[in-house]
Symmetry: C2
Subunit: 174 residues, 2 copies
């Protein structure tokens, strides 16, 4: 079965963005060719899931949508959504999952953000967490893990300590 | 100068205890002689700092107070405190710090809990974070890092992945 993988960066104190949604604290990273295994990870991915706010941020960052090679599902409360090739807007996570989970294909990349992670944690849908811990504290911000309903135990598949201080831990749910 | 070191275990989603203060999720760990470098760490310590609730928990766990070899400072709002050898009750973190920081001696171990960590993060007093990440999600609980005022960057001194899935990262504030 296709795995759902959260691949995300958070600070030591657990934030994925500042309160206003900025991720300026990431600017110090990804230099000297460091990609934290991202290109290799993306090769395993056939489908991405994004919350609407995250989708809007992603298309705001760049003129080229970064998931052109994958099918994207955007979780949104809006009923009026654009028609875009390979980008499917849905109002309900169950509709997304029933669309993709049992189909053959590569794995599924949960991009974020916090609300979508919470919804998927609540439903125990996340198989792997690829967690890059940014060696900073922010003090406040948008948490990676909002209060959710998921008491799970994980095994560590891999750990990497990068020279810029990012520690990446790859967890698989047991 | 003596360093102040937070040595603590938190879940992947950042909790140090359940909402009611229990740490049952730690019961699966510390087996087969694994001590996560704790004995070696404690050798570097001359003084411990605990919040009052954490102190009450610690003395409740065991008949032998585990920090007999160190001087303990307990941060409390109470004005009526017991007189115990080597255990000093204070109402203000600044009084504790002025007591110990410039004295010669071994390093200082911040045991917790969340409120005391927050107070010390706010004042930028923590030099090292020895963070053991428990490979579990709790969904809710007492966060390791309450909202605080500390934008800091850290370097990674060491990383250890233990066979039971605990990943320990030792950070030093830059």
């Amino acid at each position: 079965m296709r795995k759902i993988k959260l691949y995300i960066a958070m600070t030591i104190d657990g934030y994925i963005a500042s309160l206003d949604g900025h991720i300026d604290f990431l600017n110090d990273y990804g230099k000297d060719g460091l990609d934290y295994g991202y290109a290799k990870f993306l090769e395993t991915i056939g489908t991405v899931i994004l919350g609407r706010k995250t989708y809007d941020q992603v298309i705001g960052f760049s003129s080229n949508y970064p998931y052109e090679k994958q099918t994207s599902y955007v979780l949104t409360t809006s009923k009026n959504n654009p028609k875009i090739n390979h980008i499917i807007f849905k109002n309900n996570i169950d509709d997304i999952i029933s669309d993709i989970k049992d189909k053959q294909g590569k794995d599924i990349f949960l991009v974020g953000g916090a609300k979508t992670i919470k919804i998927m944690m609540d439903k125990n849908l996340i198989d792997e967490i690829h967690l890059s811990i940014i060696p900073k504290t922010l003090g406040e911000g948008i948490p990676c893990f909002l209060k959710h309903q998921n008491l799970s135990t994980y095994q560590v598949l891999d750990t990497n300590t990068y020279k810029d201080g990012i520690v990446q831990i790859i967890y698989r749910k047991i």
